[in-house]
Symmetry: C2
């Protein structure tokens, strides 16, 4: 009969690696069938339960308590194993005690003054403070720790942004800086592709595949899984993008992330449009606005992102368009085709914000009154609401002509986008009515651009060539597919990129990597193994993990500053 015995150590702090090693050592003891060494969180208790390790006694452990459980073939074997916990822990301590290790970040920074980077992988509840200390010492932070609050993340990133420092994370698993991997990182060739990724395995999958394809990576910058949330506003990703844009060794940039908040996506992509280098975007799960919008190339998956980046290198330098963008004005799209309107929404929502429509893709894009435009607006004039007793706008231009004049009279409008759908069933000569109206607008307000998508074939009854020629003569910029029109409008109407704060110094990316590691020792070992200079801090939680006492100490420290 198996016996389960356990011990709860309230408020005890141990490195996760130590706990894993303790568990393994316990499993190796005579008579032990299974063992659990975990913090007593609800999830961990449930996991113990699934392994038959939860008892009435040990289920009382709290989230900050260390819980050691032994399942053994006899009660005495279980008891013997528990008795060895302290000696197993002290054996572990002894093995690292011979090296000199600084006890604090400050001492470590004195010991290795060139260290521009601090890796933080202590438990979440202590991590923000260590990161704050690192920023105070003017170091970039690689924040591997999870379970850091969103408020802390925002505060840390704002502090960093003002100082030209990066906070990669929290929950940032991976970075490659100047050829050296931080945290989890594959060994990849150096080369001209720079990557900024929110999360860890996204960066790993992309950089590993670039390597497999024969390409190489300049830097891979992590931002953390929440960086693209509305509240965080992609501070780190925008800083990383800006640094790679300025980095002469980076020729193509890849952005990888879960889908960002809509306004964050628009801001990021506007910034990416302005970098003057090709940018491959893989916002996993975000519907790509197009295959290509100017210098932006949208990938469908991590390995395709790597493939596109590698191929873009071959195609040579991206030329910025010479036309100045239209600034501070709105787009109004007046469509007769519902699907064309929808595809245009999809393409432009990536770069224009806020964007409204009566054919919205997301609910917050809903135009309150389809009869009145606001901000950037795309209207489907074939919508049911317009169609009671009225012919479709592909046949009857009356509604569109009236709306066209209404939009042109709005002083905030800088561009009007129309579709003209030819073919059987449609108006026999739409240019005869639309071209004069376009000419009138251009004569009255030359600053308004009119862009027209003409869908048709040369066999259509309206004479495609003549339709296109007359619309162009009237002053419209004419395209034959929505894709081309979207690319043009996105290029002309993109917003100026927002400020990223103080620029991150390229020197800190290019100098031989030197780092201070606080937390997981394996990260230190890995840095040294890669030839980087590194110092491991012999970190202990303030007041040995007693949070009340730690709070008092922190207050005292603050009042002394």
């Amino acid at each position: 009969m198996n016996s389960v015995r356990s011990e709860i150590r309230p408020g005890a702090y141990f490195d996760s690696a130590v706990l894993m090693q303790l568990q393994r050592a316990l499993l190796g003891l005579p008579g032990v069938a299974d063992a659990g060494v975990v913090m007593g969180t609800p999830a961990n208790l449930e996991l113990l339960d699934q392994s038959g390790l939860l008892t009435d006694e040990n289920k009382k452990a709290g989230a900050n308590d260390l819980l050691i459980v032994i399942k053994a073939e006899s009660d005495s074997a279980a008891g013997d194993a528990l008795k060895q916990v302290d000696s197993l822990l002290s054996r572990r301590r002894a093995s690292v005690a011979d090296e000199f290790r600084p006890k604090s970040l400050e001492t470590a920074a004195q010991q290795l003054p060139d260290a521009s980077w601090v890796l933080v992988s202590v438990p979440g509840r202590f991590a923000a403070q260590v990161a704050r200390d690192a920023l105070n010492l003017n170091r970039h932070v690689f924040l591997y720790s999870d379970n850091v609050s969103l408020e802390d993340e925002i505060a840390l990133k704002k502090t960093a942004q003002a100082k030209g420092l990066l906070v990669m994370g929290p929950d940032c698993g991976t970075a490659i800086i100047n050829g050296v991997g931080l945290g989890f990182a594959n060994r990849v060739r150096r080369g001209p592709i720079g990557v900024v990724g929110a999360a860890g395995t996204g960066l790993q999958a992309v950089t590993a595949h670039i390597h497999t394809l024969g390409g190489g990576v300049s830097h891979a910058i992590g931002a953390g899984g929440r960086d693209l949330k509305l509240e965080v506003d992609a501070i780190t990703m925008r800083q990383g993008l800006d640094a790679l844009a300025r980095d002469p060794e980076t020729r193509v940039i890849v952005l990888v992330s879960k889908p960002p908040a809509a306004s964050v996506a628009a801001k990021l992509l506007a910034a990416a449009q302005a970098v003057g280098k090709p940018v491959v975007v893989d916002f996993i799960g975000y519907p790509p606005p197009a295959r290509k919008l100017g210098n932006l190339h949208f990938a469908t998956g991590l390995s395709e992102a790597a493939e596109m980046a590698t191929q873009l290198l071959v195609r040579g330098k991206w030329e910025m368009p010479s036309q100045l963008p239209l600034a501070n004005c709105y787009l109004r799209g007046l469509f007769s085709g519902g699907t064309l309107a929808y595809e245009t929404m999809l393409g432009l929502q990536a770069v224009l914000s806020p964007l409204f429509s009566n054919a919205p893709i997301t609910k917050d894009q809903t135009l309150p009154d389809p009869l009145k435009s606001q901000a950037h607006t795309i209207v489907d004039l074939g919508d049911d609401v317009f169609m009671v007793g009225r012919l479709h706008p592909m046949i009857d231009n009356d509604l569109r002509l009236r709306r066209l004049r209404q939009e042109a009279a709005d002083p905030d409008v800088g561009m009007i986008l129309l579709d003209v759908v030819l073919g059987e069933g449609a108006h026999p000569d739409p240019a005869s009515e639309l071209a004069p109206a376009i000419k009138e607008i251009r004569e009255q307000r030359l600053e308004i651009e009119v862009v027209v998508v003409v869908v048709g074939t040369e066999d259509d009854p309206q004479n495609l060539e003549s339709q296109v020629a007359r619309l162009a003569e009237a002053g419209a910029v004419v395209f034959r597919t929505a894709t081309e029109a979207i690319e043009y409008v996105a290029g002309r109407m993109s917003e100026p990129p927002g400020s990223v704060g103080a620029p991150v110094s390229l020197e800190s990316l290019h100098q031989p990597l030197a780092a201070i590691n606080v937390g997981l020792e394996s990260f230190y070992t890995s840095l040294v193994g890669q030839g980087a200079q590194a110092v491991q801090v012999d970190w202990r939680p303030p007041a040995a993990g007693n949070e009340k006492l730690a709070a008092i100490l922190a207050k005292m420290k603050k009042s002394n500053q």
Copy 2:
């Protein structure tokens, strides 16, 4: 001073084309500055208001009232114009009176017995009844009318499905059957690309671009804008897909639509996987699961869909995989990498339903308890909830090994998917722990497939080649990218396609097109102009648009049947 005068004709019915022509004729009368001829819906009243045509008097018009408004330079000019309304309307009537036209669908069907198609473009409130009549006569329906209720759509489509008939629409603008355009359609070359599209301009943009690229279209089948909603279950699109799959003249199929409901997408794509031909999918705004899943190719935009279809023709015939799919079992994915888990969710949500995860893409995919799988499940074991006081699963395999055994013990599980991420910082030899566990599973339950994605480079410290070899030896199917693994799993696990009802006869698609047109005369003219046989029904609403009377008549008719 301008004078505005108006007239309300309660409950009057006129064809929209007649109303447009009346408005134009009124605008041509002496002294008339503007004119509005509309049904008195709220949207139309607001539009009149924007043009300065709304008065206290005419704003009383109801949605079923015809409202005629004249703005003229004098009160007498406005009055004179109003007086001419009847003569302008009767002039219009006289011009079409000389041809003989059947008054009912039944008579039209007797006159043109070969007509397999009925085009319906009468006002929405009458359209469902006309469509029902057409189905009773065993004709396919092209239902251009908008403002038809969802309930009517579902009922019509279910009736049609049982009879092997198509109801394209409501709100279907476009179709091309056997070279003849119905409704709005571009004149395009005939060829081997078949298209099924929910909406009109999607079909037009794709077919026109195929033509521009030198390709050609076999048939383009419309389904209507709501066909892919959960309630309608893509009845028409699935019928169309099935017909094109059986059609020997169609070699590549394109599906175009706004994003479908999740379960509808899964069902449609499962059906598309089974057709044995390449299928290009452009669900506009639906994040593509991958660039390619077996025979499915995902486009980012209408013109790209056309380009992909054209290129696929060149590449030759698609071969169905010879392996039988795993049927009636679940997938369990146990990931150490969050982004890999998320990308896999994205790829598999397109074909597996229901799919759950603690890294869900949509809210309804949320796994209630991350510690317990249900149906198809993808778990991110690096999630914060697992990570308190525990090393990341890339370093510590304990949690994953326990979960692996748990999943393998579930009799409903047919496939287990793992990632193994190599590189700096990760476990020094993951295969040493995972391979024996995989071997154990395969020995105990050979029917469970284990698929592993290994992310790494040949320079990684773990020895990529040896890791892959040992996992494969243990019985795992190993891939180097998530993309390849997703494609494999999607192919192996896809559900059998649901029934589409009675098959649509290919003969009705291949015989020379003959059609009955009820509604917009321009559609009739267009059919005849394209060389098709057609009959125009001289349709009038039951009881001249008086709906109470119409309801009584319908009841009497029913009781006589």
